[in-house]
């Protein structure tokens, strides 16, 4: 079925022959890559990396993201080991990556690791206690984690298991969403990944009497481990 492509485009062209009144002032030079300049109107973010990390930490608290600064890969692994012990974890699903491999190597052998890079069985992934991923960047302005399928083991790894763990480095802290998009443009000059997501806190809903409940369908917990 082709549909009404030409008819619809024709109707649009016809409609647009009459110009619409402009009620707003024009906003001058467009920002690089965007349609208009807008960055200065959004919430301000400090210039210094330390300020950005501080902002991310503060927002994480409000969002219920568990944010931990770790000095080494060992420390990060130890944080995960504690979670695994407290939660009686049997299996952590993950993908391969330089950062993640360094941490995973130090995880206790009591927990099975399921690598999803070559594909996976939905039920097997569902049964895992946690999904462990890298990310593209962290966004200080909103307390978000930016992931893509190449950076984070696909589309489901970070959303199906009940606990999502992210490992990132300070260099990956971006000030705002504009910067996060810039980094993607820079990293993927020959075409973006087919899946990009900004994750802001654990999964949540307020549908029942506007009361906040975590873990609606996505992970109930989100842990972000920041390495130097």
């Amino acid at each position: 079925m082709k549909g009404d492509r030409e008819l619809i485009l024709g109707r649009i062209a016809e409609a647009l022959r009459v110009p619409a009144p402009r009620h707003h002032e024009s906003h001058g030079n467009a920002a690089a890559g965007a349609s208009v300049a807008f960055r200065e109107w959004l919430p301000p973010v400090g210039e210094e990396k330390q300020d950005q990390v501080g902002l991310f930490a503060r927002l994480s608290e409000t969002l219920r993201t568990e944010f931990r600064e770790c000095a080494t890969a060992e420390e990060a692994a130890s944080q995960i080991a504690t979670l695994a012990q407290d939660g009686n974890w049997k299996c952590i699903a993950l993908h391969s990556g330089k950062l993640i491999d360094a941490v995973a190597a130090k995880l206790p052998s009591t927990v099975t690791l399921l690598n999803v890079d070559q594909g996976y069985e939905k039920n097997a992934l569902e049964a895992c206690d946690a999904g462990f991923t890298e990310c593209e960047s962290l966004v200080a302005q909103t307390g978000s984690v930016c992931i893509t399928n190449p950076s984070s083991g696909g589309r489901a790894l970070s959303v199906l298991p009940p606990h999502h763990i992210v490992v990132a480095t300070r260099a990956q802290m971006a000030p705002d969403l504009s910067a996060a998009y810039d980094r993607l443009a820079e990293k993927y000059p020959n075409g973006y990944p087919s899946f990009i997501s900004f994750i802001t806190g654990p999964s949540r809903t307020g549908d029942i009497e506007r009361i906040l409940v975590l873990g609606a369908h996505g992970p109930k917990r989100l842990t972000v481990l920041l390495l130097p």
Binding site: G3, I12, V116, A156, R204, H217, G218
Partner: protein
């Protein structure tokens, strides 16, 4: 049944509004929920270095997008299909439904999982699918609840905001066979467990879309729960049903629009998951749908586009802010509107989508307070469009008795001497009024049923001025 749908829309509206404005507990619950929203939103707005400038910028992005809609839709299609995505252009609901049904049939689909799509409501997709024997499950918690209630969504962002936890507990017990509870966390977990199976087993996922990114050929979906990520991630086939007006020119425009949507919609800095889908699973990827279809829906949007004066109504990003601040919405509730898109923006666009004469009453049911226009993150001139709809309805077809009233009014107001006589007679009229007060003959019965009428002053301002002038001479 939540609305009386067999009546003509204007009558249905008055009937339902009579009932819902009398429902004090429901009104109080809605007021409380939206009061909390106002507080959260106010706080988040203040974090912007200039919310008002951000609105201007957002308005300009959508102005650019909508006023070059054909260019950007072409660009989107080119980029999206280059990556294996499929695009279908549907003139109307029937075409969209047929495409999706054909697809489901062709691919041997049995079970469908859906994430929130107001376009789906708009074209009555679920009943069409269910009629053909497909199982369709809504995965957004609020939408699931409304599906089980056999009611449409109450609000397009907060679908079940009118329900109390006790009602939801009873519903789940009845429909899902769950243990009795009224705890929101437990109720959410019941829904989570129920839906897990459906995400895993569904053959097809259907979603809406918040933005169509022209530059990079992507569909952007905003949500808090993660159900859209699962809907668009696990099943083999995905269909996104999106209104053609959802276009943004560039990917980076989302760095502005996503925070605006979150702030105005729910008072969040950013909604839980904002995901940009560029198409189906590519070679070398470990997961993702094998097929990704985007159905671009016109369904009278081009009609609204052709009305240059009201074209900016297509800038709407469906944040729901106008509903949240509207005193009419707060007092009559979402179902009384009797149509898919409620609140101020719904009142503006429904006449264009479903007929002016049948739906003009929604534009009339407003005091034109302007709170909607003030709240809109993309600066749509909402309340003035309501006025324009009224004017357009009259220009198309005058109501004979209204015409008579306004003709009489003009006759009076054109003649100062006649006006002055009327003013001088007012106290006399008022003296007689108690004789008919509250009865069928009372000309101001619509007022006096619930409110006292002021007393006409013994001497008008005009006469006071005249007398003073005479004295000063």
């Amino acid at each position: 049944m939540s609305t009386t749908t067999e009546l003509p829309p204007g009558v249905q509206f008055q009937t339902d509004a009579n009932r819902t404005t009398a429902d004090e507990p429901r009104r109080a619950a809605v007021r409380k929920a939206l009061g909390n929203y106002s507080t959260a939103r106010g706080k988040t707005e203040k974090t912007f270095s200039s919310w008002q400038h951000a609105r201007e910028a957002a308005s300009e992005v959508k102005f650019e997008a909508v006023n070059h809609l054909d260019r950007y839709l072409r660009e989107f299609e080119e980029k999206f299909t280059a990556r294996g995505g499929k695009v279908f252009w549907a003139s109307n609901g029937a075409q969209a439904r047929e495409y999706i049904l054909d697809l489901a049939r062709e691919k041997g689909v049995k079970s469908i999982v859906k994430s929130k799509a107001m376009t789906g409501e708009e074209i009555h997709l679920n009943p069409a699918l269910e009629k053909e024997g497909y199982e369709v499950i809504e995965s957004d918690l609020g939408e699931l609840i409304q599906q089980l209630m056999k009611e449409p969504p109450y609000h397009f962002v907060f679908p079940c905001m009118h329900l109390k936890r006790e009602e939801i507990g009873e519903l789940f017990q009845r429909e899902l066979g769950s243990e009795p509870t009224t705890n929101p966390e437990e109720l959410t977990m019941i829904a989570r467990r129920f839906l897990r199976r459906h995400f895993a087993n569904a053959d097809m996922g259907i979603s809406g879309g918040n933005f169509i990114v022209a530059e990079t050929g992507m569909i952007s979906i905003t949500e808090n729960e993660g159900n859209a990520r699962l809907t668009a991630g696990l099943p083999k086939i995905h269909v996104a049903l999106v209104g053609i007006e959802k276009v943004v020119p560039k990917l980076k425009d989302l760095a502005l629009l996503l925070p605006m949507l979150a702030t105005a919609g729910t008072g969040q800095h950013l909604t839980g998951y904002n995901t940009m889908y560029g198409g189906p699973r590519m070679p070398g990827e470990n997961d993702g749908p094998e097929e990704f279809h985007v159905v671009l829906l016109d369904n009278h949007r081009t009609r609204l586009l052709a009305d240059a004066e009201q074209r900016d109504a297509l800038h709407c990003i469906r944040c729901g802010a106008c509903l949240n601040v509207c005193p009419i919405f707060k007092n009559i509730g979402g179902h009384a509107y009797g149509t898919t898109y409620q609140g101020p923006i719904g009142s503006v666009i429904t006449p264009h989508f479903r007929g002016l004469q049948d739906w003009k009453h929604l534009s009339g049911a407003s005091s034109l307070c302007g709170a909607c226009t003030e709240a809109c993150p993309v600066k749509i001139d909402i309340h003035h469009h309501l006025l324009q709809n009224r004017r357009n309805a009259v220009a198309e077809k005058k109501v004979w008795w209204e015409r008579l009233i306004w003709a009489g009014y003009v006759w009076l107001m054109k003649r100062r001497w006649a006006y002055l006589i009327a003013v001088r007679l007012a106290p006399l009229g008022q003296a007689i009024h108690p004789l008919v007060l509250g009865t069928e003959l009372d000309p101001v019965r619509a007022w006096t049923a619930t409110r006292d009428f002021p007393e006409a002053a013994p001497k008008s301002f005009h006469d006071w001025w005249r007398d003073r002038k005479a004295v000063r001479k």
